[in-house]
């Protein structure tokens, strides 16, 4: 695939940008926060109406089947305006799991509701502060015609608003072993579930979830027992590629706002943007953003094609976009000076969301290690 957007993708990106800047500018995040709210159901409804919730869902299940490159463009634009929605968690990560692992009945039951935005799903996978699939300790024990789940999940993205959880559970083996993981769909109203909300710095709320003898039927199992790993890894790569796209959006927006500020702000009688030391730092950041752009697009294409080097490309994109977003928001605050440190000014919101998005689906250290392993060293 050529590393350019086709016409439809470009159109989608442009319309998403227009929509988000109008309907979900950064000041909406401020309003939500000041009101003690975490997300906007209205926004999600609007997104769903435009088909975003079903952008990768097959047409047979009422989706747009537009593909992951287009989906990534939406997430990138959400990064620019810091719009919070379950787009990545439900519409992209979870829908891919249901598409990939579910049987026809399950797909019919779930996917149209996901594609319409009516049903929000999320993946409950992490159990500690950093991802480690092998370390999964939550167990699903066969019991009669179903399973009983026991254990804990942590940092579940959108865990407080999801209607259903896709839960990674151990059906065999011990924590630390690679094999034995299965995926279950659990309704949030099931008995034995306890949700604890954690408010993060980016005004997103994640959930720590306790599973205390949670009973599910046989039909809750997606795919064969012990066999979810390939699809799960693909879904996590989708999540990481989308997080990279979001970070790229955050980095671009922080950068552009900073450049604008440098062109307007005077100090010592001259425009701050005329200082060569700042110019060179801005130019370096421009180069890094150019690399991000290529890497995000390539990673999304790899996800779409499910190519052999998918994980390598996704890790590379997540690393580069994480590091670049970190640099961009740090430079943004530093170059804005005192005003950049005030809550009144928006740039701090980008710094906060970047910190969270860097952690989501594995931080730069996690992916660097994976990158080296995939390269065989």
């Amino acid at each position: 695939m050529a590393l350019v957007l086709n016409e439809e993708q470009q159109l989608l990106k442009d319309s998403a940008k227009t929509f988000l800047q109008e309907c979900s500018p950064v000041e909406n995040l401020r309003k939500l926060r000041d009101a003690g709210e975490r997300w906007s159901t209205e926004l999600w409804t609007d997104m769903a109406e435009m088909g975003w919730a079903g952008i990768v869902v097959p047409e047979a299940y009422d989706g747009l089947e537009f593909g992951y490159v287009g989906a990534g463009l939406l997430v990138e634009e959400c990064g620019r305006t810091l719009a919070n929605s379950p787009l990545t968690s439900s519409a992209l990560v979870c829908s891919s799991l249901v598409s990939g692992l579910g049987d026809e009945e399950q797909k019919q039951a779930i996917l149209p509701a996901v594609a319409s935005g009516a049903s929000i799903l999320t993946l409950a996978v992490n159990e500690a502060s950093r991802p480690a699939l092998d370390a999964t300790a939550l167990t699903a024990t066969a019991d009669g015609d179903g399973f009983v789940l026991n254990g804990d999940k942590a940092h579940v993205i959108d865990g407080m608003i999801a209607h259903k959880l896709l839960v990674v559970a151990r059906t065999s083996g011990e924590a630390g072993e690679q094999d034995g993981l299965s995926l279950f769909m659990v309704d949030r109203e099931s008995g034995g579930l306890t949700f604890t909300a954690v408010l993060n710095t980016d005004n997103h709320e994640v959930a720590n979830i306790r599973f205390d003898s949670v009973r599910v039927g046989q039909d809750a199992l997606l795919g064969e027992a012990g066999n979810c790993r390939p699809e799960l890894e693909r879904a996590l790569d989708i999540g990481a590629a989308c997080a990279a796209a979001e970070l790229f959006g955050i980095a671009q927006e922080s950068f552009e706002r900073t450049i604008q500020y440098l062109k307007e702000r005077k100090q010592f009688g001259v425009l701050v943007g005329s200082f060569q030391a700042l110019q060179h730092r801005a130019a370096l950041l421009f180069c890094e953003l150019n690399l991000c752009k290529s890497m995000v697009l390539k990673a999304l294409q790899a996800v779409e094609e499910n190519s052999a080097d998918r994980s390598l490309l996704v890790s590379a994109a997540k690393i580069k976009c994480g590091n670049t977003a970190k640099l961009a928001v740090n430079e943004a605050v530093q170059m804005h000076g005192g005003i950049g440190m005030t809550d009144e000014f928006d740039i701090g919101f980008f710094m906060k969301r970047a910190a969270a998005a860097r952690q989501e689906y594995g931080d730069e250290y996690y992916h660097s290690n994976r990158f080296a392993q995939l390269r065989g060293y």
Binding site: N126, A128, S129, R130, A154, H155, V198, L199, N200, T201, D202, V206, R265, Q267, F268, G269, F275, A277, L278, K326, N330, V333, Q334, G337, G338, G340, M341, T342, D343, E344, G348, M351, K352, A355, A356, Q359, D363, E364, Y365, S368, N369, A372
Partner: protein, 391 residues
Amino acid sequence: MANAEEFRQQIREWLQENCPESMRLPIYSDKDQCWGGRNWVFENEDQKLWMERMAERGWTAPEWPAEYGGGGLSKVEAKILREEMARIKARRPLESFGIDMLGPALLKFASEEQKQRFIPEIVHGKIRWCQGYSEPNAGSDLASLQMRAEDKGDHYLVNGSKTWTSYANKSDWIFCLVRTDFDVPKHQGISFLLIDMAHPGVSTHPIQLISGNSPFCETYFDDVEVPKAHLIGELNKGWEIAKYLLTHEREMIGGFGLLRAGGASLGQTALEAIGEREGRLTDDGLRADITAFEVDEMGFALTIERVIDEAKAGQGTGAASSMLKYYGTELNKIRYELQMSVGGSDALAWGEQDELTLVKQWLRTKGNSIEGGTSEIQLNIIAKRILGLPS
């Protein structure tokens, strides 16, 4: 140095007796730091006791002359006191811009009468001071300040505003740079004035930071009458005092992260949080980055030590302040970036209103390289004044 050892022993015993156990615990929230002043409400009896006991001996300002209430200690003795306090993890009895900033300037530039009046109140935490340097829209270009003080015979009439005034809403007095002559090049018409914030016409408005705290304010002065006796140093020579004070402030901010460092190394913290394989931190990349940081941290601590030792030996170059400010604040930002990485997803939690969570501290460090002269300004100073590179 038999005397020094004796002195150390005495200090140790005195601290053992006089420092309450609860004053040896880590700082959890802002309230755990005692700032004193007219409106201070002590968190508990121990906090009050600890401050008063230390102030009585002048050890809230150990090196200041005893005649103004200071401890009258030599540099060596003061160092021993610091070391012994660190040993038992004693909290600083009194946080104070009066001690860290204003006091040294008063000792150098104020009249005898002014010293007698203002310094003992600082040592005893009776008056809480704040600093009024920056102004809205002036940013780093301090000398372009516009707040004016007009000569009205027996007093100055002050009008204008200051920004980034730390804790102005909780302070009793403010030390300010004001313009007293508009007809000369900008550095030459500036004076250094002390203003009682209880005066009519002074008002403050807190600025909320991205870290959720509001340590800074905007402070407004509307026809405030200030007695002439509160001018420090000569009229229109305030820039000299400001420079002297900025140098002090830079060193303080630069060394700040370091002072708080004590205790477990970042690598140790990471090991406990992340785990090991054959005695090594499991995450290779983090291990390498932490090592690089710890090497720099060690080098920076040794450099502070060397600068102090050189000053003692009369070899000081006076060039150190910008370097320490720049390097110390950048290093502190790196420390917190690494701590965030060590914490992983756990580190993102915002916490309750007053809770000093890691993520808030991390966000707060971003201001280190802006306040007290930006990193860019420090690098300019090094390049031009120390290295003599051309304009």
